[in-house]
Amino acid sequence: MTSPELRTEIEEFLYREARYADEFLLEEWEALLTDEFHYWVPAGRLQGEPSKQLAYLNDNRTRVATRIRQLQTGKRLSQLPNSPMRRVISNIEIESANDGEFLVKANFVIYELAAQSSGELRVWPGQAQYRLERVEGNLRMSAKWIELVTADAGQRNLTFLI
């Protein structure tokens, strides 16, 4: 059983991570990651071995740093201007808590405005699976895997932090 204190701590972490992503607080977001962070958005369900599949996004720590650097250049056309966006996360389930490592699932919906081109309102529903670790007393994210409801259907530009 997860203690109410732990649940609150994890929820607060997820809400903070979500807000940093929504507001393009890139350095703050990156500071939440461990050195082994794995970021994955498959073109289907969250199953199988990620390295063997062709995904929308499959970043190791080095590549996610490049992703953030690209956004910080001020020349990233597909995020000029940054998408106004807000996400709602809910249905938070703490799947396991062992030795300072926590597996957490949550549903999300992101509302994103394509301010860079057509002005279309884009809706991104899905489930996020997080692996969190305690590093020097603080929670850090060592994996974020995203299963999009629309995974099979193809996507608009996904150039924000999902």
């Binding site: 958005v41 073109a43 289907g44 390295s51 063997k52 599949q53 062709l54 995904a55 929308y56 996004l57 499959n58 590549r63 490049t66 992703r67 650097r69 690209q70 956004l71 910080q72 250049t73 001020g74 020349k75 990233r76 056309l77 597909s78 394509a114 860079q116 081109s117 057509s118 279309e120 099979d152 259907a153 193809g154 996507q155 608009r156 530009n157 996904l158 150039t159 999902i162």
Partner: protein, 425 residues
């Protein structure tokens, strides 16, 4: 046909209305995707009899299926009875296709096998098969189809250049064969489909549209595509028939630049490759890399990525891609190609996302242009760059600096030919 394409496609410019006019789009789907050859898929996607994949050819949903005899058929995904779509998933394996409306059952060759309560029909079954592509051709696994069957031989369509470009890619595989079985990823873009052949074969934009990429990571495009003509010797090539290449080879400064690694990292691949082709050729291939080429009307050989340009509506399209996997290469090498593909192509990539936004901005820019503006000299898109320095060889192949619009003009030459052909049926 009310649209005079010769008025709208000129040697040095095209009219913006061609990128959004609904009547133009409707005629393209007929003239180019029904009456012409187009790429459908790769045979490695359907290895076993009964394997099928669903594809879109212009307005037509089709099933590419390996039949009971091992042959590849391209069938309309539409029951011959009431028009119900037969396949919903992207791919599958069936021993027949059965419609869910009245349980009509079709063989993998599209022929009608059985209907419930057959006494109600006096027509022969032969008249009630699925529509199928009139011509299907397979070159080194690349499957092309011509829906109406009147397009002439595939050799005429691909030409020597089409074959050579496919060869150049396939020959880099240790076995000589590709595997394109990793699935296709759809990038949905709010632009006209023709902006992608343009972007995929445009060498001029790289340093501008992709400035954020070159500012944040080292890529081979720094050497081959960025900077003025003085610093690079890459070529933009129009082979005719709308087949185009950005030939990076003259600009590479080291082997494997296109993969961003040194030879030590891909030693197993090199050994396997040189076993078949010899060291000398393998060395050359490591320098040259796979082609960056577009085959009219919808196939992009994007170095280690293959993409299909899929029209949806005048202002809506899908750029659909998969990773090249070399049959006979080690797993680590092929996984490197997967990661390279994810970095370069698709909705969350570092490169084609900025092409997508650019295409959407073009679409926003041209959306008000009417065909009638052409005669008032408004709404033109200029494609004249490099016309004065283009070279034409004895085979009619045009080439120029890689920043020149030789490739873009080549697409539109072929487009004009196809759009102004008389409809004979």
């Amino acid at each position: 046909m009310g649209i005079n394409y010769r008025q709208l496609v000129r040697g040095d410019r095209i009219h913006g209305s061609l990128l959004h006019d609904p009547d133009v789009f409707a005629e393209e789907m007929e003239q180019i995707f029904v009456r012409g050859w187009a790429f459908v898929g790769h045979e490695s996607e359907i290895k076993n009899n009964g394997d099928w994949v669903k594809r879109q050819l212009g307005n037509e949903s089709v099933i590419m299926v390996r039949g009971d005899d091992g042959d590849i058929n391209v069938l309309s995904n539409r029951c011959a009875h009431r028009g119900t779509a037969l396949c919903w998933e992207h791919s599958g394996n069936n021993s027949f296709f059965q419609c869910t409306y009245h349980n009509w059952r079709f063989g993998l060759d599209g022929n009608l096998r059985a209907v419930p309560f057959p006494d109600g029909y006096s027509k022969p079954k032969e008249e009630l098969g699925l529509n199928r592509a009139g011509q299907v051709a397979n070159y080194r696994g690349f499957v092309f189809a011509n829906l109406d069957g009147q397009a002439g031989f595939i050799d005429e369509h691909l030409g020597a250049a089409g074959y050579e470009l496919i060869d150049r890619l396939c020959e880099m595989s240790p076995s000589g064969n590709l595997d394109l079985g990793k699935g296709w990823i759809g990038h949905r873009v709010q632009s006209n489909w023709k902006l992608w052949p343009e972007s995929d074969s445009d060498g001029y934009h790289v340093g501008f549209v992709h400035a954020s990429m070159s500012a944040s990571t080292d890529t081979h495009y720094d050497d081959v595509a960025i900077g003025g003509d003085a610093v690079k010797s890459s070529r933009a090539v129009d082979y005719g028939k709308g087949h185009l290449e950005l030939d990076w080879r003259p600009s590479y400064k080291q082997e494997l630049s296109w993969l961003g690694v040194t030879r030590e990292r891909v030693q197993d691949y090199y050994s396997a490759l040189s076993q078949r082709v010899g060291n000398e050729l393998a060395d050359q291939m490591l320098w040259d890399g796979p082609p960056h080429a577009f085959l009219f009307p919808n196939l992009f050989l994007g170095e280690t990525v293959i993409a299909i340009v899929e029209p949806v509506a005048p202002g809506e399209m899908i750029h659909r891609h998969t990773a090249v996997q070399f049959e006979g290469a080690d797993d680590a090498f092929n996984e490197r190609l997967l990661r390279q593909t994810e970095a370069a192509f698709g909705p969350a990539s570092f490169i084609t996302t900025d092409d997508a936004i650019t295409a959407e901005r073009v679409q926003a820019g041209i959306s008000g242009i009417d065909t009638s503006w052409a005669s008032a000299n408004r709404g033109w898109i200029d494609l004249s760059r490099g016309m004065h320095r283009e070279l034409v060889d004895e085979n009619g192949v045009r080439s120029s600096n890689s920043s020149d619009e030789t490739t873009n003009r080549g697409f539109w030459y072929r487009y004009l030919e196809m759009m102004s052909e008389e409809v004979t049926h």
